[in-house]
């Protein structure tokens, strides 16, 4: 073990603001220091430090047995994570891009998600990695993967929007006894406006609890990840027309914090859901359904959504910008709903 700490894990110790990416690195580092059962697996995470350099310097400090460079075999090493978890370890698996989680779909949904129910015990595994568009990565380096897993009982899905949440939620995910899919938007990793001072103590944010990112009375926007920022921008625009928007940042998608959404809708009577993921079969549907079940009488207008369009993520920048939901889209839909 070397004495010097890699720079991306020292921001909080030095009292300096951290980027979203550094917050992730800090969470991993601190949890590995705290609990010797935690270890990392992934492609090129060792001496290369990972495609986004989240784990730069980890190999030197924690050694080969806890920083494991894997072959290109997302299914195989996720299955191996299950075995290690059975034996009491707490693997954190990195997908180089979360798009590559799809070869692990079988083992995640069939083996890992069903383990507790099958009487084989809980499996404390975190599968984390970069998601999302806007990077000109084309269809295979830009996906959001929540809806591949949202339908599977036994999994949790976390998708933070701020650096502080990224750290606090990742720590919770690692300490959770259940398998957690953890999505990190590439557009937040190094975004200057996401740089913030993190609480210096052991900063833990509970899973399953949404956050009110902005309070308001006229319209509820439920969103998560990068779209929290787009929605806050839209809310600022709407505020100039005296429209008071409440923005709810889900933070955890599964289990869904239904109570937080219901409470807000009972106040505003209007609900707009904003997600970056494509439209049909997106999470907006489940939220609309739950609001129908629990707060229909409070609705003063239809539940609406702003989403990406139903296609793969296009490669060209012009196409991708058109594909993704914009601030203007949120403003348009929000204004429409408020005036309904």
């Amino acid at each position: 073990m070397s004495g010097e700490l890699p720079p991306q894990v020292t921001r909080t110790r030095e009292g300096r603001p951290a980027t979203f990416l550094e917050a992730i690195a800090e969470a991993l580092w601190e949890e590995m220091e705290r609990d010797s059962r935690v270890f990392l697996m992934g492609e090129d995470i060792g001496s290369y430090g990972g495609a986004f350099k989240v784990t730069r310097g980890f190999l030197d400090h924690f050694g080969q047995s806890r920083i494991i460079d894997t072959p290109i075999s997302e299914g195989g090493f996720t299955g191996a994570a299950a075995g290690a978890a059975h034996m009491g370890l707490r693997p954190v698996v990195e997908m180089q891009f979360m798009d590559f989680i799809s070869p692990a779909y079988d083992v995640l949904t069939n083996y890992i998600a069903t383990s507790l129910y099958r009487g084989a015990g809980p499996l404390p595994i975190v599968v984390r990695g970069p998601v999302g568009g806007g990077n000109r990565g084309g269809p295979f380096h830009s996906q959001n993967v929540e809806m591949a897993f949202f339908h599977t009982p036994g999994l949790k899905i976390v998708y933070p929007s701020t650096a502080a949440d990224a750290k606090g939620l990742l720590k919770s995910a690692i300490r959770d006894d259940n398998p957690v899919i953890f999505e990190e938007h590439k557009g937040l990793y190094r975004a200057p406006h996401c740089r913030e001072k993190l609480p210096a103590d052991d900063h833990v944010v509970p899973l399953g609890k949404a956050r009110v990112a902005m309070e308001g009375e006229d319209l509820t926007i439920v969103t998560y990840g990068l779209m929290v920022h787009r929605s806050l921008e839209a809310a600022a625009t709407l505020a100039r027309d005296r429209v008071r928007v409440e923005v709810i940042d889900l933070r955890t998608l599964l289990p869904l914090d239904e109570d937080a959404i219901v409470a807000s809708v009972q106040k505003t009577g209007k609900l707009l859901i904003v997600h970056e993921d494509t439209r049909t079969g997106g999470i907006a549907g489940e939220i609309a359904m739950r609001i129908n079940e629990r707060a229909f009488e409070w609705l003063d207008g239809p539940v609406l959504r702003v989403t990406a369009i139903d296609s793969p993520v296009p490669f060209s920048g012009a196409l991708e910008d058109y594909f993704l939901p914009s601030v203007a889209d949120v403003v348009t839909a929000g204004r429409y709903l408020v005036n309904y």
Binding site: P71, G76, A81, V107, Y111, Y117
Partner: protein
């Protein structure tokens, strides 16, 4: 043959007889109704005996696979547990929420699976990785049907184990008698991963034992996983190997005729008792289906089905006609 040959043989005889008596259950139709043939192959029991068993969660781990659950006996499973599992009893492991002929009990080193082939090689590779990381004298043993080698998942698991030099012994099982594993097939596959390979056919017990014991020793020494292929046994008489082994244990391994009889009587009585007891045990209770899928979930029945909606969710009127259906 290392260790006390007689004691080991005694254990295997017991396992075999248990297997034999359980076969009665199948003949009685219960397994048919459970939709699964119950593989019997002495060789898998003998091989599993070469691992280190313990009931305190500190021994080796074994996944017996779908075909011949005999190895589970070696790891401490009881006939009653098998019968509960096949009979879908509420007393079954996991209250009959999951099927198959194997289940999970990590303290005894049992790890079960009823899903796609190949998966358990990945999982046991990770189990073995954990042993190696902690420097423990433990290894993992996985039985896969030969067809698992057709799946990409199996290859990824095997490759991972090889890359990590994980203490894993992989057996390609021909217990159902399928003629897949040609002589040399395992060798050829193993070469691609640079791991040791062996093929077992109708070898006598000591050879079967030694093959696995050697693979285990190499594995815990950090010399990586091994691949062992079983050639199909005689299809016509699935009990031939079984009887031959009992004869061998009696006549050559020093267990003795009287002792074999005694084990046989005890096993028979044990299985009888299990049948008897099984009859009295309840089916799984319907709402056992509602146990949580995550550790701290509160199981939530869907309200439109068994419970009325939350009070207050509708402002204008009381729900009507809700309780009169069931």
């Amino acid at each position: 043959m290392p260790g006390d040959a007689t004691a080991l043989s005694r254990g295997v005889v017991r396992d075999l007889l248990y297997q034999g008596f359980q076969a009665r259950f199948l003949a009685g139709g219960a397994a048919k109704s459970a939709g699964m043939p119950f593989g019997v192959d002495i060789r898998t029991v003998a091989m599993a005996r070469a691992m280190r068993h313990s009931s305190d969660g500190k021994g080796d781990l074994c996944s017996a696979g779908h075909l011949a659950p005999g190895p589970m006996l070696a790891f401490g499973a009881t006939p009653l547990e098998f019968l509960r599992q096949l009979g879908r009893k509420g007393t079954a492991p996991a209250a009959a929420r999951s099927g198959g002929r194997s289940w999970t009990d990590l303290r005894r080193g049992l790890i079960g699976w009823d899903g796609p082939p190949g998966t358990m090689t990945q999982v046991l590779a990770g189990v073995a990785l954990a042993f190696a990381q902690r420097g423990q004298d433990r290894a993992a043993l996985v039985f896969e049907e030969f067809a698992a080698t057709e799946t990409g998942g199996w290859h990824e698991g095997m490759n991972f184990a090889a890359a990590q030099a994980a203490p894993l012994v992989v057996v390609l099982d021909a217990a159902r008698g399928a003629g897949d594993a040609g002589e040399g097939a395992a060798d050829a596959i193993a070469r691609g991963y640079g791991v040791d390979a062996a093929t077992v056919s109708r070898e006598a017990y000591p050879e079967l034992f030694r093959t696995v014991a050697d693979a285990r020793r190499r594995a815990v020494q950090g010399r990586g996983p091994s691949l062992i292929a079983m050639l199909p046994r005689d299809q016509d008489d699935p009990w031939a190997l079984h009887d031959a082994f009992v004869a061998w244990a009696r006549d050559e391994a020093g267990v003795g005729r009287g002792e074999v009889k005694a084990i046989e009587r005890a096993a028979s009585a044990g299985v009888d008792h299990a049948f008897h007891r099984l009859d009295k045990e309840p089916e799984a209770a319907a709402d056992d289906a509602l146990v949580p899928v995550c550790t701290h979930d509160v199981p939530q029945p869907a309200w439109t089905r068994r419970t009325p909606p939350e009070p207050g969710w509708r402002a204008t009127a009381e729900p009507q006609g809700f309780h009169d259906v069931r």
